[in-house]
C-alpha cells in the first residue's frame, strides 16, 4: 500500500468558472530529461521541439492517438509507456483504430488528441484486471482465455461535462505550470501532471477529450457555481505596506496547504496498490489501483516517478460509486485467488449470495452457465423453504 504525493509541485490559487475549479500545479524546476514523445510534437501544436541530445527518456500517455507505425494508420497508445533513447524509433504498444470515412479525414494530421470515450476506459479496466488467474472449474472458458472482455463503462468526455470546456478555455496557464487538478462542484475529478511546462501547454486542450466518470458529469450538471476562495486580509493587523505584503503571501501559503490537505485529500490520503510496469533510466512507470473502499474517493491512475520520489507524470480517473462496487468485488475475488468458496467465506456471505452479486455487477458471463443455473436453483430452493 502506498500513497500518492505531489512531490516537487506546489498548488497555486484556483481558477473558477461556474461549477468547475481548476487548480494549477507549479514545478520549481522542470524535469528536462523526461519528455513527451517527440513524434507527438508537431508544428500545429505550437510547442518547442525537443532537443534529442538532452532528452533520454520519453513517455506516451495512454489513449494517445497518432500515426505510430509506417503503415500510416492511426492507432491509440495502449497504457502509458516509458521509453529510452534506444526505443525512439520503435512503435509503442498500441491498438489500431477503425474510423469511419468522415472521421478519418478529420484525423489525417498528427494532432494531439486522446482516444474517444469507451475504448480508453475499457483499456484501463482490462489493464487493471487481467481476469481469473486460477482455472477453477466455475469460471467460463471465455473468462479464462480472454480475461475480462471489454465492457462499456459509463463515462463522459470532457465536452459533455457542463462548463468544463469554457473553464479550460478561459484558464490562464501559469509560467512553469506542469499540472492541474480538475474539480467539478468541488469533487476531485482528475489529476494531471506532466514533467515539463511545454508538455503541459501541448496537452492542456486534450483535457476536454478526456474521460470523466458519471459522478463528475452529474455533479457538474446539477451543482451550482462554486465559490472562488477570495483573499481575506485582516486589516486591524496591518500597519505598513510590508505587513500587507506579508499578509498577502500568507494567503497564498494558506491556500496551498488547505488545498493539499483538504481539497485534494481524497486523492492524496487514499491507499493505493502500485503495480510496477516499466523502468527506464531513473524513472518508474506504475499503475495505481485504489483500495476500492466504498463511500470514499477512488481514483484509478498511472504515474511515473524517479528514484528520489519526485512525481513526473500522473493521470487519474475518478471511479463512480457503481464502479467502486464492481472493483471491490473483483479485488475480493482476486484476493481469494478467484475461488468462490474462499471469497464467500472471506466476505462473510454464502456462495449463492456471492454469485448473485457477481451477476448483479454485470460479470455473470465470467461464470459457466450451468454453475449459474445451479446456484440460482439453490437460492430459489432456499427461498421456498423459508417461505414454508
Amino acid at each position: 500500500m502506498t500513497k500518492v504525493t505531489l512531490n516537487g509541485l506546489t498548488s497555486r490559487p484556483s481558477q473558477v468558472w461556474g461549477g468547475v475549479r481548476l487548480v494549477p500545479l507549479i514545478r520549481e524546476e522542470p524535469i528536462e530529461d523526461l519528455r513527451l514523445d517527440a513524434r507527438l510534437y508537431d508544428a500545429d501544436a505550437g510547442v518547442v521541439t525537443v532537443d534529442p541530445r538532452t532528452v533520454y527518456c520519453s513517455y506516451i500517455p495512454h489513449g494517445y492517438v497518432a500515426t505510430w507505425a509506417d503503415d500510416g494508420a492511426p492507432a491509440a497508445a495502449y497504457g502509458t509507456q516509458l521509453r529510452d533513447a534506444a526505443d525512439r524509433d520503435r512503435a509503442p504498444r498500441r491498438m489500431p483504430l477503425r474510423f469511419h470515412r468522415r472521421m478519418a479525414r478529420r484525423l489525417d494530421k498528427n494532432r494531439l488528441r486522446f482516444l474517444p470515450l469507451h475504448v480508453a476506459l475499457e483499456g484501463y479496466l482490462a489493464l487493471h484486471f487481467g481476469g481469473p488467474t486460477f482455472a477453477w472449474k466455475e469460471w467460463s472458458r471465455e473468462a479464462i482465455r480472454r480475461g475480462l472482455s471489454p465492457r462499456a463503462e459509463e463515462a463522459y468526455t470532457g465536452g459533455a461535462v457542463r462548463g468544463l470546456a469554457d473553464a479550460l478555455r478561459v484558464f490562464e496557464i501559469y509560467p512553469g505550470q506542469c499540472g492541474v487538478l480538475v474539480y467539478a462542484a468541488d469533487a476531485l475529478a482528475a489529476a494531471f501532471v506532466v514533467p515539463h511546462p511545454a508538455d503541459y501547454r501541448a496537452l492542456h486542450p486534450t483535457l476536454i477529450h478526456d474521460l470523466y466518470g458519471e459522478l463528475i458529469y452529474h455533479y457538474a450538471m446539477l451543482g451550482g457555481p462554486v465559490p472562488a476562495f477570495g483573499a481575506r486580509v485582516d486589516d486591524t493587523a496591518v500597519r505598513s505596506l510590508g505587513d500587507l505584503r506579508a499578509a498577502a503571501r500568507a494567503q497564498r501559503d494558506e491556500w496551498a496547504a488547505f488545498h493539499e490537505d483538504v481539497m485534494a485529500g481524497g486523492l492524496l490520503d487514499g491507499d493505493y496498490t502500485r503495480e510496477y510496469v516499466q523502468e527506464v533510466g531513473p524513472y518508474r512507470l506504475s499503475r495505481l489501483m485504489p483500495s476500492f473502499e466504498r463511500h470514499r474517493e477512488n481514483h484509478l491512475g498511472e504515474l511515473i516517478d524517479d528514484d528520489a520520489g519526485r512525481l513526473a507524470y500522473l493521470k487519474t480517473f475518478r471511479l463512480s460509486e457503481n464502479q467502486v462496487r464492481r472493483g471491490h468485488l473483483l479485488t475480493r475475488l482476486a484476493a481469494g485467488d478467484w475461488s468462490l468458496s474462499t471469497t464467500a467465506a472471506a466476505m462473510g456471505v454464502t456462495e449463492p449470495e456471492l454469485v448473485r452479486r457477481i451477476e448483479a455487477a454485470g460479470f455473470g458471463y465470467l461464470l459457466r452457465q450451468d454453475v449459474r443455473d445451479h446456484y440460482r436453483a439453490r437460492a430459489r430452493g432456499d427461498a421456498a423453504r423459508r417461505g414454508r
Partner: protein, 476 residues
C-alpha cells in the same frame, strides 16, 4: 434651490454611469469570457432600460465618448420610439443625433439607415435627419459608387430625388451609354477595362479585381494610392507577404490604439527588428494624444494587464492588451516620472504578449511601494492569483494606510462584463471607468476622480448638460 437627495436619485445616477461604461466598452462582439450573444443581449437590455427610464439622459450620452456601435444603437432606439417623446425632447434629440451622425464614419451611418428601413421607421424626423445628413456629404457621386446599395436604400426610404446622373446610376445603372460625372464613368468603364478600376475606391475595385481575375499582389501594388489611411495599416503586412511593397502606411500619423493593435499583430521577431521605428511611431502618437498635458502629471505608476485574458477574442483580437500598451505609451508622455509594471513582470513593453495568470494584488502592492502621486490600473478586472487580493489591498490601502488619499488611484477597464451589466470593478473605494481608446485616458481619469465620491443626480445632470452644450457648439 437645493433638492434633497433621494435614494431614487442615487440609483438613477448609478444606472446612467453604468450605462456609459457599457456604451464605451461593449461592441456586442465576443469577449474573452463571454460570447457575442451574451454581450449583445446584455447591451440591448441596458439600452432599453435606460431609454425607458431616463430618456433625456439616454439621449445626452450621445455627447460622450461612447463607441460608434452604441452611438448607432442610441440613435436608432431614439428614432424608433420618437412617438413616446414630447415635442421639446424630439427637438433636442434631433440635434444630438444629427451632430453625432456627422462625426460617425459614413458606413456606420448608412448601416443605421438600412436598419431603420428594416425596422420600418419612417417618421418625419427620421426622413429629415437622413435628408440633412445626405445633403451634407461632400461628394454624393463618390458615396453612390462606394456605398451603392446603401445609398439606394437610403434615397428610397427617405423619398429623396437624387440629383443629376445619380438617379439613373442608382436605379438603372447600365442604361446610360456614358456618364458625364468622372467617377461614375470610371465605374462604368471598369466593367470592361482593367486600368479604370484602379481609379475607384479600394472596396469597389476589389470586386472588379476578382471579376477580372487580377492576382491579389499585383492588384494591391497598383491600387495603393487609392487606399485610405486605415486600409493601408490593415493591409500593409499581408501586402508585404504578396510582394506589394507600394502599400506603406505612414505609422507616424496613425491613432495610438490602432497603432498598438498593429504592433501586437506583428511577430516577436518583427517587433525586435523594427524596434526603433515602432517605438518612435508609438511615442509620436502618444505625444499627439497627450497634447498640452504632456509631462504635467508628475510621478505616475501603472499596473498593466498582460495576462492571457488580455488576448480578448477572435473578434477583438488582443484588444485589451492593445489598450494597455497604448496607455503605457500615453502615460509615459503624460508623466514626468513613470514606472510601468506589467503583470508578467516583463520590462520591455514592445515584447508583451498575452500569457499567464492575473496576480493584480501583488503588482498593485509593488506599485504602491513606489509612492507615486498617481496609480493607473489597466485591466479587465479578472483578478485570479489569488482572486480578490487586489480588492483587499486597495481597501486596506484606502482605509488604513492612505486615508488622506495622497495617491490618486484609478482603474480603467477595457472589457464589458455581460453578466454584471458593467465593467468589472476591483474595489468600491477605487473608481473604475470603461475605456475603449487609450486616447480618451485623460478625460476618463479626470471624470473618474470627479466621480470618486458618490455623485448625485443633480451633479450628473449638470455635467451632462455641459457636455451636451460643448458637443453641439463644436458643430457646424
Amino acid at each position: 434651490m437645493a433638492r434633497a437627495e433621494t435614494s431614487a436619485d442615487l440609483i438613477a445616477a448609478e444606472d446612467v454611469l453604468l450605462f456609459v461604461n457599457a456604451a464605451i466598452t461593449s461592441t456586442g462582439q465576443r469577449e474573452f469570457h463571454s460570447g457575442a450573444d451574451e454581450q449583445s443581449l446584455s447591451l440591448d437590455f441596458l439600452h432599453e432600460y435606460v431609454l425607458g427610464n431616463y430618456r433625456d439622459l439616454y439621449a445626452a450620452t450621445l455627447a460622450l465618448d461612447v463607441n460608434d456601435h452604441n452611438a448607432v444603437l442610441i440613435a436608432r432606439n431614439l428614432l424608433v420610439t420618437a412617438a413616446e417623446a414630447s415635442a421639446e425632447q424630439r427637438r433636442a434629440e434631433g440635434r444630438l443625433i444629427a451632430r453625432r451622425l456627422a462625426l460617425l464614419p459614413p458606413q456606420r451611418v448608412y448601416g443605421l439607415f438600412r436598419r431603420l428601413r428594416r425596422a420600418r421607421v419612417n417618421n418625419r424626423r427620421t426622413r429629415a435627419i437622413m435628408r440633412d445628413w445626405l445633403a451634407a456629404r461632400p461628394d454624393p457621386a463618390f458615396d453612390a459608387v462606394k456605398y451603392r446599395a446603401a445609398v439606394k436604400d437610403a434615397v428610397r426610404h427617405a423619398h429623396l430625388a437624387p440629383a443629376g446622373e445619380l438617379g439613373p446610376f442608382l436605379f438603372t445603372p447600365h442604361r446610360p451609354a456614358a456618364y458625364r460625372t468622372p467617377i461614375l464613368e470610371t465605374w462604368r468603364r471598369a466593367h470592361y477595362e482593367q486600368a479604370a478600376m484602379y481609379d475607384l475606391p479600394y472596396t469597389v475595385a476589389e470586386g472588379f479585381a476578382a471579376r477580372h481575375g487580377v492576382p491579389r499582389g499585383a492588384f494591391l501594388e497598383r491600387v495603393a494610392p487609392r487606399l485610405t489611411r486605415l486600409e493601408r495599416l490593415r493591409l500593409q503586412e499581408s501586402a508585404r507577404g504578396l510582394g506589394a511593397e507600394a502599400v506603406r502606411a505612414d505609422l507616424g500619423t496613425m491613432p495610438l490604439t490602432r497603432l498598438a493593435s498593429y504592433v501586437l499583430g506583428l511577430s516577436l521577431e518583427d517587433r525586435r527588428n523594427r524596434r526603433d521605428e515602432l517605438t518612435a511611431a508609438l511615442r509620436t502618437a502618444a505625444r499627439r494624444a497627450a497634447g498640452e498635458d504632456a509631462g504635467r502629471w508628475g510621478t505616475v505608476a501603472a499596473v498593466l494587464d498582460d495576462s492571457f485574458s488580455a488576448y480578448g477574442s477572435g473578434q477583438k483580437r488582443r484588444r485589451p492588451l492593445a489598450v494597455a500598451l497604448a496607455c503605457h505609451f500615453l502615460l509615459e508622455a503624460l508623466a514626468a516620472e513613470y514606472t510601468p509594471l506589467w503583470l508578467s513582470g516583463r520590462a520591455d513593453a514592445l515584447s508583451v504578449r498575452p500569457y499567464g495568470p492575473t496576480p493584480l494584488g501583488e503588482r498593485i502592492l509593488d506599485a504602491l511601494e513606489l509612492g507615486t502621486a498617481r496609480l493607473v490600473i489597466v485591466s479587465d478586472g479578472w483578478d485570479n492569483a489569488p482572486p480578490g487580493l487586489a480588492g483587499e489591498v486597495l481597501r486596506i490601502w484606502r482605509t488604513r494606510l492612505d486615508p488622506s488619499r495622497a495617491c490618486a488611484i484609478v482603474h480603467l477597464n477595457p472589457v464589458y462584463d455581460a453578466a454584471d451589466f458593467d465593467v468589472r470593478r476591483l474595489a468600491p473605494t477605487v473608481p473604475t471607468a470603461g475605456v475603449r481608446d487609450a486616447e480618451n485616458l485623460v478625460a476618463l481619469v479626470e471624470l473618474a476622480q470627479f466621480a470618486e465620491g458618490r455623485t448625485g443626480l443633480p451633479e450628473l445632470r449638470a455635467h451632462l448638460a455641459r457636455r451636451v452644450e460643448d458637443f453641439l457648439r463644436e458643430g457646424p
